[in-house]
Each structure stands twice: as structure tokens, then as C-alpha cells.
Symmetry: C2
Subunit: 215 residues, 2 copies
Amino acid sequence: MARKPADQSVDREDILWAAAEVLHRNGYEATTMKDIAAQVNLTAASLYHHFKNKDFLLLSVLEVGLDLTIDKLEVIESSDLTCAEKLGGMIRSHVVSVTGNVAVGAAMVFEIRALLNANVGGKNGDRAFTAEFATRRKRFFARRDYFESLFRNTVQAGIAAGEFRQVDAAIVTRAMLGAHNWVGVWFREGGRLSGAEVADVMVDTWLAALRTHRE
Amino acid sequence: MARKPADQSVDREDILWAAAEVLHRNGYEATTMKDIAAQVNLTAASLYHHFKNKDFLLLSVLEVGLDLTIDKLEVIESSDLTCAEKLGGMIRSHVVSVTGNVAVGAAMVFEIRALLNANVGGKNGDRAFTAEFATRRKRFFARRDYFESLFRNTVQAGIAAGEFRQVDAAIVTRAMLGAHNWVGVWFREGGRLSGAEVADVMVDTWLAALRTHRE
DNA sequence: TCTATAATCTAATCGCAATTTGATTGACTT
DNA sequence: AAGTCAATCAAATTGCGATTAGATTATAGA
């Protein structure tokens, strides 16, 4: 391979996490390539060796965050637990993800608009770039819908199975995701509750909201 | 007073709503003064006649949105309804506000980070400006905490009154607000449900999550 | 009608941020 | 020891966006 000085063993992964963190602090537009570079002791120019441009960098951060979470949810979905147990596991998993890496969690939520606005129809010349970007972005949003469907389907299944009350699954699911996402905004490591504890509260709350019977 | 051509009867208020709308679409950093100006058929320069600068404009938008919502909540709080009824009313009121003016609602949520980052310690010379800004910003955040406390106190009171289960009021309140705020992200006028209908689902969901007994 | 001033505009400034270009610098291979 | 490629950097480019300066226009009131 090649270089990688002891003090600058920075790879694509490192940059992604660093970017997620800065993004969390400032938001996409307010974050400069220099900010991100500084986080890993590089210059802005160096980032272009790892990512085509700022938009691709953002997209990569979002992709990683989403994939990580989806992986965990799929394991739960394909288990043979009751719907209530599954949903509880999913909620816990999602909340823990968000609290465990607030940066990614928040980016997930707040930078999507930036992704939408991102250059594509823009003036930028290189057609190949924008074409690839458009494709990846589209795939990202599809994954995002899939992510949401994992929750919604479980709610729906629970209703069908009589475990949950008759509710508007689509709306309740979004309420749920909104609540979880918001955790990324206020949660602070070292606060009154740990991420797992917050997750427990969420699980309890949502199951109480949905369950047909109360024990 | 003065001028105000028929076709350009734009006042401070108009600019605020326009700004909220553009902000909702693009986010603070991605929104240019020109964008906002265009929305009301003015040039960017003209905006400076009404607002000191971009930061003050954002702050003003947020202030208006918050005050509007708080006003409605206070009426409910000082009524003599049961805690459950009060909370239901507050939830409905908040959600309807958000769906009724997605722009303000979303700005409320998403641009707060921009407000935090906003120049204050900056290089900008004018001490008077920054001092006033710092003060107003501080007051804004205090109002914001107050807003949250209106919900939290009601939950707390409900628990004390035995109407609600024993839950972590602080966390549940934030979960609730997160769910409501998120509505501003996905809600679209003309969708399957009206704002009032979404609000109803929310009320039902949260009361189910909190109530001690189920009817 | 004349005057003061609100509300606008056009035309600069000024600085910053993304991105490009053209070297370097090591490390790994041979 | 030479060659090659990955990983960096410094410096230049470019364009855009906030903000300012200096008119201009329209109204309300004297």
C-alpha cells in the first residue's frame, strides 16, 4: 500500500467519524472541510484524496450510520419473538445507537435536508460525478424508507396479532422515530441517565402506548 | 409614515413568515438573504432596513414561533381541566401549530443549532449589536425551557394526581416533543390526514402511554 | 407644494469556503 | 537502490454571500 505516518494514521473511517462529529455540532452547511480536516489533523485539501467532495462525504456519513442501525434491526426482525418483544428490541437498539453515537444519529436526522439540497442539477460540470451521486442518494433514501418500514411492519403485525391496539401504524411509527431521533439532540454522555436507561424508558413508554392489555 | 408601494407592501411580519418558509426548505446556513428577499419580491439589501442582520432575522423568526405556541399552552395550563385533559389539549395545540405552520415549526426545531453557532464571540466589531443579540438569544432559550416545562409539569402533576403512571416525566416529555417536532418534517398539507387528525392520533397515543387505567 | 423619512434599489466590498493543482514524502516492492 | 503509489500539504482559483454605501422614490403631513 503506502504511507501512513505514525501520527497521521488517518483512514477513510476516521474521517467519517470525525465528520459525523463536526456535523453534529455545526450542521452540514456550517461545517467547513477545514473543520473536518482539523478534527483529524489534516488539511482540507487532503480530504479530497479520500472523498470526491463535500457532498459525497456527507452522504457517506449518512450511509454508514443508517447501515449500522439497519443491521441490528434486521437481526431482531428475523427472530421468533412476539411483536411486542421485537418492537421493544428495535426501540432499544435504535435508541442505544443514537445515544452511543450521537454524531451519526443526529446527522442522520438533521442533515438529510442538506442531502436533498445537495448539488445534482447544479452547474457542476462532471456528469459522471453527479450521476453517481444521484444514484447513491436515491439508494440512501430507499434504505431510509426501508428502515422506517421495519418499525412500521412490526407495529402492524402486532396489531394483526392482537398484541397491540388498533392504531394508525404509520403515524405512530413516525411519532416513535421522531422521539428517538430527538434523543440525539438532547442526550449527553454523563447525564442523569445512560443511553441504555433512556432506551428502557422509551421501550416502556411505547409498549404502554401500544399494548392491548396492561399487565 | 412613509412609502409602501401597492405591489410591495411588505412589512416586518411578511418577511418573518417568508423567512420561516425558506428556512424550512433550506435550513439557516443554506438560506441566503437573497432567497428570503425573493420570497417577498425585495432585494437582499432591503432586508437590512427591517433587520439588523441575518442572525437577528433568524432569532426573530424563532421568537415569534415560540411565543405563538406558548400563548396557546398557557391558556390550557391555567384552565381547570384534569391533567389528562390538559395534556391532551397541549399536545393537540402543539401539533396543530406545527402542522398549521410547518415553516415555523420546523425552524423552531432545526435552526436552533444555527442560533447557537451564531456570531457573538465573533470578529464582528459592533459591541452593542452582539450584546443585544446575546441577551435576546439567552432569553429565547429560557423561553424554550419554559415551553418544555409546561408539558413536563403537566405530566408530573398527572402522576401526582394518580391520573398517570409513574414515569420519568423529563424523558417522556422530551420523547413527546420529539415526536411532535418530527411532524414538521414529514407533514404535508393535503396528505392522508389533516393536521387536526394527526394531532388526534398523537393525543390518543400519549394518553395511552401515560394513563393509569384504560377505559 | 415642500420636507422629512420610510422603504427600496443598484453597485460595491470583503472575506471565506470549496475545490484544483502541483509538489513532497515515505513505505512497500522488487 | 529504484520505482511506484498512497497520503499529505501549500498555494492559487473562483465564486458566492453577507453586509455596506449611496442614491432614489413615494407618502404623510405641514
